[in-house]
Subunit: 346 residues, 4 copies
């Protein structure tokens, strides 16, 4: 079997995590990662043995790496020449420019949720639409929030055939390593109502009706979703059967909060640190079992989203989708997760 | 006109504010406030000229005030003898004991939202059910959250005849003067689902169908409600007409967030400080005009609640209700608010 | 007695507070306040009856006020014509431009601590150097931190004749109404070492040797100073006598933290709200009595600074200094504080 | 070579980290870890293959593990029988009871910094007094703060022969996984002045004169020390030579904050996550190079302390000290750190 040659364009918060997850798989390998210039983040690439390329083809910028003490193999074009697929992890607003480069190079491409659906016209989550994206030229792996919603809503939808969803998103205002953003002591509503977050689920599963409201709050570690779902008549579900459904769903963790003393996102992240993935990541969506309640046809639940990492394994599955190497999403998910688990064997 | 003689049992966070609001009115007066013993909080009563009583009738405790340098007029029983109505602002769980004392003394009584509806079997907000509480022996003025929901939902209900409401409450985890409580960096879902907060509205307006989910977040200054309301067919409303309805509703402030740079609860509270009420209080519910959106029959909006003070004017109206001195809630509200406004003439 | 005619250039966080404090005095009056254009903040000026002027002389900008529904009396030049003294409360970096205008208009002027000492060559705090600034053309009222340090250090210096001070400033990262700034969950050291904060005391009392280190922390309400002072041999002081000295010092509050349950800056601000000044302001420096400890010649203490308001009364005294109407700082301070106290008679 | 048999009494925040660090070494092994009962934390022990024991010898408590689905090998006494050394990581206040058990079992023992020096009469940090603790029965590994101070002060002391130190500790108020503690929006001074933190350094290096002040702030991730050191005359150091000294000191990281965009503790912890140790730990003390400044004989600097993990490698060295297997602290430190680095090979 030939391994899939993967390029990471943008070795930052998401890029470094996707690179590790690729490195963990036996059917793909990192052929290079890009940085805009010599900086602290290059050390990590060197340590991992990932070849370094410059985000730009400009010879001066490429040469600057050597001056900073790093070996740079060339520009983005050089990297694209040797790659089968590029995972675009560059900062927002670069999508259109980059897309043209990827197409010109004839390289398959993944974008992240910071880009709009319209960029490629295709969006992806493992459980929602893997099969539809088999062999496509490029696809957007949706955002952390949309990925999280898909994880719990898609199996519900598969069972029920239709869903009407309202989600209030209580969002962490800044990432842990970002000390510039506030607020320190306030709640900030997103005044675009309904917000764009919920409806984005419809880019991967158009049949789910969903809206959302969003607020930002002074925490750095996780988003929390407060979700209300109207199930259709005759759904045949109970609170318990829904809990059991999610317990069997990949990349969803369901635990009793009170019994396990996991009553806030702080304790969820602490549990994640014990799992031992790098950066204390939690790829799974966390659902509080004692927060799930079906009242007639209306379902209430809370879930927590690790905004830095829940999309990482989806990127791996999406690589297999666009490369057409695995058509069964469940097989891909199982392979991805087992490899990651073995990689971080702590 | 004889003034209504008001006793405040518990001169703390709520008690001191109600006392000021009573003091501002011309149809009622403070005849005494209670403290459990000599302490820092007594100074405020002295400064305001409110007679000090002991929460208990125990002679040793009463004498302790003199030792602490404060004149104490007697115990709670002495105070009840000279009062027409007592506003119970004691900490939670004291309700049942106190109720017996108030009944024994033949004094009308108000409780606060920390007590359950069942204590008196009657609950109150000015706009929802003033007339129903005319002349009753005692009533519970509902919590800050329930009061806030009533302010915006009751006029909607009056117009529509029925409403189905889901509210996600993003709650400040601690009051500004409370430095013991956390979390510092987490979101805490209330794992009782649905939470008790929303349904409490039905104690004042049983016809409104409502449920809620609640989370606590690391801020001290305001609660924020993210609300979804299903209006009945034929409601005849638009986003604009709803905004205008609320602009004419007492104790509701509707402002454009982006235009006025009031985009978080921090800026709302800053605006409140400019108003100049003591403690920087905001008696009104704040609705972001640019966060109101009617989509078909489904209405979305955000409102912010100053948890320390929005119930203060309701207590004044409730005093008039139980005393039977003003049967029209709108007249009482107008009188209450004008007097408070003149009192804090800053 | 003619009242001193005071203009406020910049009716924002500091300007609105100084205007109120001026309004409280019987020997001075507000003749106008400036805003850059029609905005929310103009309402407060209207409510208080302060004549509104435009920060600029540009006719278009002046006319914009009428369009926004506010009466504008003219530009800054018009205001300066009728003023004896202007208090510059404009945002930083405007100092040099404004200074030229004030000089051209022949109006006495105060700047705030955001400007550098070099702008006027003179700096002011009431207790440090009132007499030196009698009748000068203009002076800078120093920052909240420098004012706070002067309050407690100057009386110590007057007693001892010399002091060597190290101060670590734990600074609130953003003001309460500012929701943009972070950090949410981090401590930020000021990497300029020593920081500029402490040495700024030497602009008002050059004989005090002082350095400082500063960090910003995720809170909005007060700065806290951790101070170490080396007293000269033969100082004759004890922990108790120092506490007593500060108890007799104007604008310093000394209280036992544990006994009064004022163990953090949150409870200090809560106490301030009870005092009843507008915006919940605390003009005084708060010293924890149980945090004062003299060990040999080395004194340790903590003090808390309300960064939005401690300089307000100093501005009033500084007006009297530059106008030459009161040469004794203690007389001015007593007059200022009594008038403010009566003004906010809550 | 026989490996040292290590027991961990208390497999919690510190215990689980020490266990991993022991597991990484080739001259020691974990023979068992204790838990008080079956709980979430047992899973980690099972995953790592560490034999589980009960903190108590009570047969009912031991049997409870099996009921919870965990194999329990016995009580603490059983574990002590097969151990050469026990690392006590139990919660505070258990020290005296546990000490008696360890002595009775004839097992060498380490305590953590939550215990007082007097418990064993001996305290330890690797660089300060490894040699003095060779072969002793038991020793206390000092707290995270004392360990951090030793790391930077001991080499300074070794060079200068004497030091006078003042340290202001800006402490994180709660650990990341602890959502109960506040404050949310306040600064809390430790009113015992001077605080106990600084002088604790004298338990490992009595010749260093040191005092400290401490405050708690609303952050969860690191302590920060603002340090002022008086060097003796003739020290011969410069800011640069001190920076270079620390760059060669084990377990100290010195980096330019502005150049590397590591300007707060948030970015320090983000850098630590990139290093890839489990839990995102940072065993090293972080010193901002651009925050070091020698002014005459007075040195100013800031350092950040990862309170959950900086003592972990010291525990490993202390095991070798009490077992008498390595007399040179630098050799032990190099061995410890290389093994940990290889273990977390991410």
């Amino acid at each position: 079997m030939t391994t899939i040659k993967v390029a990471i364009n943008g070795f930052g918060t998401i890029g470094k995590r996707v690179a590790d997850a690729v490195d963990a798989q036996d059917d793909m390998e990192i052929v290079g990662v890009t940085k805009t210039g010599p900086s602290f983040g290059c050390d990590l690439a060197v340590k991992k043995g990932f070849p370094l390329y410059c985000t730009f083809d400009d010879q001066d910028r490429i040469s600057a790496f050597a001056a900073g003490g790093y070996e740079c193999k060339g520009g983005l074009s050089d990297l694209l020449e040797i790659a089968d697929v590029v995972v675009d992890c560059s900062p927002g607003k670069m999508g259109a420019d980059n897309l043209a480069k990827y197409k010109a190079a004839g390289v398959k491409h993944l974008f992240q949720g910071g880009e709009k659906h319209d960029l490629t016209g295709k969006s992806y989550t493992s459980s929602a639409n893997h099969a539809e994206n088999l062999g496509v030229e490029g696809v957007r792996v949706v955002s952390c929030n949309t990925t999280g919603l898909s994880r719990t809503l898609v199996p519900l939808f598969e069972h029920c055939g239709s869903l009407k969803v309202e989600c209030t998103m209580i969002r962490r205002a800044a990432d842990p390593g970002d000390s510039n953003k506030g607020p320190i002591n306030a709640i900030k509503p997103v005044l675009k109502v309904p917000s764009h977050h919920g409806p984005d689920v419809m880019t991967v599963k158009p049949e789910i009706e969903i809206n959302s409201l969003a607020v930002a709050v002074p925490t750095t570690i996780m988003h929390l979703h407060a979700i209300v779902v109207d199930l259709p008549d005759g759904h045949g579900l109970t609170t318990d059967s829904i809990v059991n459904m999610w317990k069997e769903t990949p990349r969803v963790i369901v635990m009793k909060g009170n019994e396990n003393r996991i009553t806030t996102t702080a304790e969820v992240m602490e549990m994640a640190r014990d799992i031992g993935r790098k950066w204390g990541d939690l790829h799974e969506i966390f659902v509080w079992e004692d927060g799930v309640s079906l009242q007639g046809n209306r379902l209430y639940y809370f879930q927590a989203i690790h905004q830095e990492s829940d999309v990482i394994p989806e990127n791996i599955d999406a690589i297999r989708a666009v490369m057409g190497t695995e058509s069964d999403w469940k097989v891909s998910v199982a392979k991805t997760d087992a490899a990651i688990s073995a990689y971080y064997n702590l």
